[in-house]
Amino acid sequence: MGLLKLKGFPGTGSFPHGVHPPDNKALSANMAVEVMETPGTVTLPLLQHLGVPSKQIVKSGETVSYGQMVGKGEAFVSASLHAPIAGKVKRNAMVTLPNGRRLEAITIQADGEQIPPERIWEEVTFTQWPKDGFSDHAPMDIVNKIQESGIVGLGGAAFPTHVKVMPNDTRVIDTFVVNGCECEPYLTCDYRLMVEAPDVIVAGALLAARAVSAREIVICVEDNKPEAIKRLQDAARQTVVQVAVVKTKYPQGSEKQLVQAVVGLDIPLGGLPADVGVAVSNVQTIATVARSIVKDVPLTHRVITVSGRGICNPKNIFVPIGVSLAEVVDFCGGLTPNAARIISGGPMMGFAFSDLSAPVTKGTSGLTILTHDDVRKANETNCVRCGRCVDACPMNLVPTKLALAARYKNPEVADRYHIRACVECGSCSYVCPAKLNLVQLIREGKVQLNAWERR
């Protein structure tokens, strides 16, 4: 089925190797997006994206309105920050994000009249999004607007989107790939967006593709999301946007694997999708692009999933960026007594943390809260060289060698086995019968290799 739907694309709809963790999406897949009320305060760390931190442009005590820019991305690879609520700027706070980074953050206390968040969400789910007549938007205008709106990849990497769609004479983008795979277990926020707001995604795809002058536009969805596929196909009717159904497999949503599955090209090691004429962007990012260009609103809210057996009421929620994760957890009924691990993102690549005072950032795709029974146990044994990690690695590496090279601090061997090609997807650790945490060792190995080369 996947193969038939991929007609017109050279890829096979899949990629070699990979794993099939239980997706556990049923916990929250049918929970319609709920809108969270305006919080009392929001905390906006100055670095929520990959690149240079934004520069704060408001002072403590200043009054800001909804959508006002409060931090400016001055460097090229940076992103601006906008107030998700109207209010007063307070003294800057220091926050520790789930990924362990400690950052300065702008704090805004709600004050004055707020735009009801329901209104913002209605705008997203609006069904009459324009799908043509975009030709009066010059590509550069679109790029500038994206940059102004502070849009970054909302799939988790948080790479500034304007950098990706910047027209470039030396590389031609043929295909714009909208990534709706959401291959991480538990997460369903992209799925809900595709089901509830397919029109905004199609509009955004057309606009983003126009920025890079891509001829082909394809929204990729895994074949375990038939409802999303149907809704998107309906919304994309009479447009040039195509919907590609790809195989459900982890890590299908990884850029390299997705490009391989759909376009059939391998992104060179250390390269970008642009090197093979492709741009990839997550569905939620694309929806934000549409809103910024058509409605002239910056990135201030996003949909996140709170799921797992460790949360009382799994939900998909439309939240302002900057709301504290503790409030989010409260909104979902609190943790269950057997909650054992709180993860920002999904269980394969997300960060475990314990400080719930951290805020939702642009890259927060959700919270996965696992119970003791769900968590991988750390009782590791020796590697039995079974080769399962080799069969799982989507990058075609030999994880066991990489991990052992790291353990024995042998960066030379690690380099010979291409440690830098590892995308840290975690598939190897997932399958390892010896329960070795191969990715973790590989991460250390990369650090060792860098240090060794600098010496």
Partner: protein
């Protein structure tokens, strides 16, 4: 901060939902889930399940003799593992069942008539020299069972060789004394193919029935505990070489079938060569390993003084494994052709 702290408290406080203890939250690096179906122990249990048809056939054919060999070898392996691990001050490793697997494989590869101390010695040597000195499960270069067997094969050539394969049960009439392969090699006597296939011939207690080994082996492959590449490439290589010799010598297929179904070939291809610890990691490496093993088996069978070549072939290829691994470093996705 006090604001948010209050919120955390409300997210975690016992007052929130009466009778609830605050959750205990821990952190660890990703990934946070693992394949619960996979485990070192589970793999070893799989191997034992895969061996069970061969065990059943051996018990049926050799009765007490098979039972004796199995019990001696398993007990000796477990005891040896326990002792050696204690001596090295390492934590207790019996739980992963790998010593048990070594014991069962050794037991099945003993001739029924071998005295008890042969099996016991093979076990101790196999576990001690074959495994523990390298650092325990996963670290060894040679298949422990084969190390043990090679040792006793050389030390007690008399007890282990052709002479040891007494027709212990009287079930087999076609060949007396010699195993089918040594009968073929030394006397030109051929055993019918169907007894070889079903296992009603003489030989090491667990290696006689090709069908039992194939059944168990397919189970292992289905469970992904053993790779398919190794048995397939060994069998195809042996079949090719034996087939060519067959045609050249005008044996009308008997030579070929003998080499496929007699002796330890099936047992070795499915249970010994596939030992993950001592075989290469990548699919390509596994094929090279299998082809190499197959060639060596036939070279030893055809040109050396031993009628059976599986054991030495596997040991030699074990030694080659690190080399094969470094030849077959896979090309990462996206790497340009060199």
């Amino acid at each position: 901060m006090s604001d948010t702290n209050r919120l955390i408290d409300s997210a975690m406080s016992p007052e929130d939902r009466p009778g609830r203890k605050p959750p205990f939250i821990n952190v660890a690096p990703s990934p946070h889930i693992s394949d619960s179906r996979a485990g070192t122990r589970r793999m070893m249990v799989d191997v034992i399940l895969g061996l069970s048809p061969a065990i059943v056939v051996s018990l049926y054919l050799f009765r007490f003799y098979a039972l004796k060999q199995l019990i001696v070898c398993v007990a000796a392996c477990l005891a040896a593992e326990y002792l050696f691990v204690r001596m090295r001050g390492k934590s207790f490793t019996l739980k992963d069942c790998s010593a048990m697997v070594t014991g069962v494989i050794l037991g099945l590869s003993m001739p029924g008539s071998a005295p008890w101390f042969v099996g016991a010695l093979a076990s101790v040597v196999g576990i001690g020299i074959g495994k523990i000195v390298f650092g325990g499960v996963g670290m060894n270069i040679f298949n422990p069972a084969m190390v043990g067997r090679a040792f006793v094969m050389i030390a007690f050539a008399q007890l282990m060789g052709a002479g040891a394969y007494e027709n212990v049960t009287g079930l087999v009439d076609a060949v007396s004394g010699a195993t089918p392969l040594s009968a073929l090699k030394f006397n030109g006597v051929q055993t019918g193919i169907s007894p070889l296939f079903m296992g009603v011939t003489n030989g090491s207690v667990g290696e006689v029935s090709a069908i039992a080994c194939i059944l168990g082996g397919l189970y292992l492959i289905y469970r992904k505990t053993a790779s398919w590449q190794i048995p397939a490439s060994i069998l195809i290589t042996v079949a090719l070489i034996a087939g060519i010799t067959d045609v050249a010598g005008g044996y009308q297929g008997l030579f070929l079938l003998h080499h496929l179904f007699a002796g330890a070939l099936m047992f070795g291809a499915f249970f010994i060569a596939t030992d993950p610890v001592t075989s290469p990691l990548t699919a390509k490496g596994k094929v090279i390993f299998g082809v190499g093993t197959g060639c060596l088996i036939m070279v030893i069978r055809l040109f050396s003084g031993y009628p059976e070549g599986v054991m030495f072939a596997v040991l030699i290829m074990n030694a080659m494994t690190p080399l094969i691994n470094s030849w077959t470093i896979p090309k990462p996705m996206g790497q340009k052709e060199a």
